[in-house]
Amino acid sequence: MSDPTFVRVKTMMPPGHIRTPAYLRGKTGWIERKLGPFGNPEQQAYGLPGDLLTLYRVRFTMAEVWGDQAERPQDTLDAEIYEHWLEPV
């Protein structure tokens, strides 16, 4: 099995319809799987055709997401995030 690919969720906060949850912005996780291309909801939400973007399932530890408040730091959380919200670590 190859080493996991780590990614960080961008911290940008543009106003509008965005599927990337705010609590994950700036957090680092790893690619659990590539889900394939889907239309960009940030365009489709406004009646526009959505550019096809790669959607990834990204896995985070609870310790990474919630810090000292995590009840079970080793548990993980999966979120599906579009490529333009991810940057390499």
Partner: protein, 112 residues
């Protein structure tokens, strides 16, 4: 200056909240119809679930507190259909008047 960090009201993950209280309830006929209407609209390509959510998010937190789930859905469906040019507000108003004239019950409203 403001300390607003840009996080919008609907993006609630991680906010302080009480325990989750699960409850069972049945849906009213009009609520089932609103749900079916959304399926029809997306199947026909009039707008997407992203548009549904966008219009609800733009309603703001007060509307979220003071309306029900399907109240927000039908308002959002209408907003998206107006934007898509599916009908005009004039056409909608005329149709609403015509339906209201049939009567207040489902049976009367379905008579035409």
């Amino acid at each position: 200056m403001t300390d607003f960090d840009g996080k919008r009201w609907h993006d609630m993950g991680g906010d302080t909240a009480g325990p989750v209280r699960p409850s069972e309830h049945d849906f009213a006929l009009w609520e089932k119809r609103v749900d079916a209407l959304m399926v029809l609209c997306s199947t026909k390509g009039l707008f997407t679930v992203d548009g549904l959510r966008r219009a609800i998010e733009d309603m703001g937190p007060d509307v979220f507190e003071n309306t029900t789930y399907y109240d927000r859905w039908i308002a959002s469906i209408n907003q998206n259909l107006i934007e898509a040019g599916t009908y005009t507000l004039g056409e909608l108003g005329a149709k609403m008047d015509a339906v209201a004239k049939r009567g207040a019950t489902y049976g009367e409203a379905a008579s035409e």
